[in-house]
Subunit: 267 residues, 2 copies
Amino acid sequence: MPRKHITGFSNPTVKYLRSLREKKHRKREGMFLAEGLRLVTEAREAGHIPQMMVVAEGRDSHPLIDTLEAAVESQGGDIITTSKDILSKISGKDNPQSIVGVFRDFDVPLAQLDRTTSDIWLVAQDMRDPGNLGTMLRTGDAVGAGGLILIDHCVDPFSVEAVRASMGAVFTQKVVQAPWGDFLQWLRSGPGQLVGTSLNTDTDYQAERYTAPTFLLTGNEAQGLPADYEAECDVLVKMPMMGKADSLNAAVATAVMAYEVLNQRRA
Amino acid sequence: MPRKHITGFSNPTVKYLRSLREKKHRKREGMFLAEGLRLVTEAREAGHIPQMMVVAEGRDSHPLIDTLEAAVESQGGDIITTSKDILSKISGKDNPQSIVGVFRDFDVPLAQLDRTTSDIWLVAQDMRDPGNLGTMLRTGDAVGAGGLILIDHCVDPFSVEAVRASMGAVFTQKVVQAPWGDFLQWLRSGPGQLVGTSLNTDTDYQAERYTAPTFLLTGNEAQGLPADYEAECDVLVKMPMMGKADSLNAAVATAVMAYEVLNQRRA
């Protein structure tokens, strides 16, 4: 199958790929970018084949790239070769990865989420940092969570930064985006313990026994959870804070909580 | 005391402040920037008064700013007022914080580190992401660690990004920078258990009893610890990984370990 080769910076495909760095274009197209051989390979292993893959010309042969190219072509996708300079333009970085995959996004409607598939679910409210969000996905994968439910105005889980920080977990974790009211209604339609991490409690996170499925709710990086959201939680807990600061990084707090739940289950 | 007011983009002080965004200039000057009222206030509370403080003109009065200004002036430091545009130029951001503090850096020589001041110390090897490094400082504060020892080619703990991610902990945690050989010699000259987080072990991190003072060693984000570094550890442990990925984010792994050590101590 002949491959396309792009040489011009003003090529429409280059413009299209660059546009996917912006949320509004990702939403409109329903597509997103994942950069790097490792990420694209992890996507394939999770069953996500890029609809288009851009590969640096003159790269050394690599069996993983051959496997990816074969997978893309067997699905009718496009393989495009181009220069490092154009890859730089696409990625916005001086040293771009030599592979970029273009994937259809795949967040799951809340109504289709099957809570029986895991004992741990992560829930983020108004999370603003794409690195934190991607790190939560990565942690979710590590603890065997079913997925990450994004409440209110979280950053886009399909941004390049979030996808990168997830280290591939964006392809293996279920990703749901829902308003708080919808989430709460869905949650209460079945079993589930809603656990909020909060400064407004004296309950130590290790003093509580968590029941499955556990939904671990972490609030906005700067504000924490709104008071009326905390009021809906089955339990509020906090980590001990021995120093001057009153809170942990949001992704760190989620991970400490998630490992506590996992540890209780495996104890 | 009369304050300086800067109106020109080419003012030498503006150039000086901008230069402190780059590591080589920070090293040469021995100074670094912390942005925002919260960070500068936490610095003051930890005993670090900026040698220079830049404040946006026309800002609303705020008692915390008044306190900071008084502290700076009592130490003979400079208060500079300037426009939002020039603050944008200094910070490199469209929406700059309305306060920037300029601080003398203060990493501690290894020989002056008193290991008896805490039961937990964090050690990072070749950590490349300033957000991870700052987050480790923040976690260190939370678990009551004594400080963070940076081995080999870690990113600069006084970069704007690391300082921001530390949420002030850079001012409360001891920060040491040392080559591996020096660290190891220092470590073995006194009590201390060196615990490495690694994929090359079957020892679960909860199966080990940690002895004080515990030095928690986390390796480079992409490579982990070098084999010869792992060989020097008293124990290698790993967190359970239930998903597809084989590792956690480095700052997350450090936090999960650090809370395990803290939890064993308080149990």
